[in-house]
């Protein structure tokens, strides 16, 4: 019979440990903060674009990159430093490690994106059509993409740069097929179909609903897809990491 108090405590301490150690690591700062800012500025500066129209996409990209940047680093780093074995020998189970890693990523995503959002709201007078939906978008989006980060960290390696490369390989194409640089409403045919395959599309659409009220999908579909993505990513991460424990790697 699992002790729920011990389980919750293990998640909280793992999250705290991750926040203390990994938030200021180079790869997290580069891929989580600088990269989305540079990407947006590259597309925005020098073009006559409507900031209000593109802001939900920018916000979605920011949350996507920040939330998914911490997870991929943790497990490979700890395997390289050989602290992973110590962690597993403490009163934790695999689920606590996965959820602790996920929460560290999600909190990082929410914190940084909230600061950016607040600054932009003050500077550019960004409208908010539905604050509740915006909050839900922040939470589900950050958890979904932190789960992606945790899944990306699951393959066996003790070399963090391998995982950062893999995560860039998966994350970069997603920003081009998620309605960030071309609004979803302007896409048709196969392009629209392609965007529907990316989970980031649903977060961007949710932000459109919350900020401008011009979403393509109903918000409940966006939320449902994001919840499904969380379950899928966490489930896959658990299966892979459990297999690693059986194999002793």
């Amino acid at each position: 019979m699992m002790d729920c108090k011990v389980f919750c405590r293990s998640i909280a301490v793992i999250t705290e440990k991750n926040m203390r150690i990994y938030y200021f690591k180079g790869p997290v700062v580069i891929f989580g903060l600088l990269f989305p800012l540079i990407m947006f500025l590259t597309f925005f500066i020098g073009r006559d674009l409507d900031l209000i129209l593109f802001f939900p996409g920018f916000l979605g990209m920011m949350l996507f990159f920040t939330a998914s940047s911490v997870g991929p680093l943790i497990t490979p780093w700890e395997k390289r430093e050989k602290t992973y074995e110590r962690l597993v020998s403490l009163p934790v189970i695999l689920e606590s490690i996965i959820i602790g890693d996920l929460l560290a990523g999600a909190i990082f995503g929410i914190a940084i994106t909230t600061i950016v959002f607040a600054a932009c709201t003050v500077l550019f007078h960004i409208p908010v059509a539905n604050a509740g939906l915006l909050g839900l978008g922040f939470v589900t989006g950050s958890v979904a993409f932190a789960a992606l980060g945790t899944l990306l960290a699951s393959p066996t390696t003790d070399n963090p740069s391998n995982i950062m490369m893999l995560s860039s390989l998966i994350r970069l194409p997603l920003i081009f097929i998620s309605g960030i640089f071309i609004p979803l409403g302007q896409l048709t045919g196969p392009f629209f179909l392609l965007t529907s395959l990316s989970p980031l599309t649903y977060l961007v659409d949710l932000f459109h609903a919350a900020l401008n009220g011009d979403a393509v999908y109903p918000p409940w579909i966006d939320l449902l897809v994001l919840l499904g993505v969380i379950i899928l990513f966490v489930g896959c991460a658990k299966v892979i990491q459990k297999r690693n424990l059986v194999k002793g790697i």
Binding site: V6, R20, K82, T83, S89, P91
Partner: protein, 317 residues
């Protein structure tokens, strides 16, 4: 000054660790095959074996780090696979290479480990202070572990493992690669924890260390336990290999050692090594013949069977 330690257990009649029929294979290689051990509460139990014998794999299964292919492990009555959280609360583990978080300070490493065991803030800080003092790291408590030597890192690793005063302390090669000072601190801490009531399970390939520390030893080789017993019992397994080492002031012929109690004699540097089942009789005989042949004995020493000898014979087999 070493502070007073504020914990002590009442020993129970329960076995501290019961591992039954543990087996683990990695592809075609069987690292541990049908290993069973029972460790009563309160002792120091050693897993002794050469490199690659399966010690670390066995320890990793006992601590819940590795899932066994077959077999069960119970720590103080709790099944490690079925209820890992409860089982791990009772253990303190020092993994091989004594790893700790390099990006945290010495004190932060201990405090964050204490949080996993649900210790309140005051207890965490008090206990961290006590342990840092005991391990001679108080002055470096705010230094990042990445600036520490291997010996200091190992001491922090031990500090993390004992912060919650575990009833079972498991150490994987705790003194490998350490300098004399750090090694002594580690051994003293192991003895101290045992004195306070913790059951100790340690792996080592250092025979002297096992002989000095352990009340019970299992010798493991090629994934199998080949012998289990107290160090003295294991030594006596090969009791026939006792000998007397003697040197004279001049060369002597092998015929000198023709007493029926002497099984054989070998030239050993400037000495003779005389093998016997009865060292007392051999010494008396050698003194008699030295007197008879006007030989001066330069040195004489009897040698008891060593654990090293038992280890070599068992692992060779």
């Amino acid at each position: 000054m070493v502070p007073a330690v504020t914990f002590e257990y009442r020993k129970t009649s329960m076995d501290a660790i019961v591992a039954k029929n543990l087996r683990k294979s990695f592809g075609p290689v069987t690292a541990v095959d049908n290993v069973s051990i029972t460790i009563p509460e309160g002792g120091i139990f050693g897993f002794l074996g050469p490199n690659g014998a399966g010690k670390t794999t066995a320890i990793r299964m006992i601590t819940g780090v590795l899932i066994p292919d077959a077999g069960t492990v119970k720590v103080l009555g709790t099944d490690v696979q079925k209820d890992p959280l409860t089982a791990k609360l009772k253990m303190g583990v020092i993994p091989e290479n004594g790893t700790v978080y390099s990006d945290l300070t010495a004190e932060q490493n201990i405090l964050i480990t204490a949080k996993f065991y649900g210790m309140d803030r005051a207890s965490r800080e008090e206990r961290a202070g006590e342990i840092l003092d005991r391990l001679g790291l108080t002055e470096r408590k705010n230094a990042y572990v990445r600036t520490f030597s291997k010996g200091m890192r190992q001491r922090i690793s031990i500090a993390c493992a004992i912060v919650h005063s575990p009833r079972v302390l498991i150490l994987d090669e705790p003194t490998t690669g350490l300098d004399v000072h750090s090694r002594r601190l580690v051994i003293d801490t192991v003895r101290h924890m045992n004195g306070m009531g913790s059951t100790i399970l340690l792996t080592t390939h250092n025979i002297e260390e096992a002989n000095a520390l352990c009340s019970m030893i299992s010798i493991i080789n090629k994934g199998h336990i080949v012998a289990t017993g107290s160090p003295e019992k294991l030594k006596k397994t090969f009791d026939t290999s006792r000998y007397v080492e003697i040197s004279f002031d001049q060369q002597v012929a092998p015929a000198l050692f023709s007493d029926p109690g002497i099984t054989r004699a070998e030239h050993w540097g400037d000495k003779w090594r005389v093998y016997t089942d009865d060292p007392d009789r051999a010494v008396k005989y050698l003194a008699t013949v030295a007197d008879r042949d006007h030989l001066k004995i330069v040195s004489i020493a009897t040698s008891n069977p060593t654990l090293e000898e038992a280890f070599v014979r068992l692992t060779e087999a």
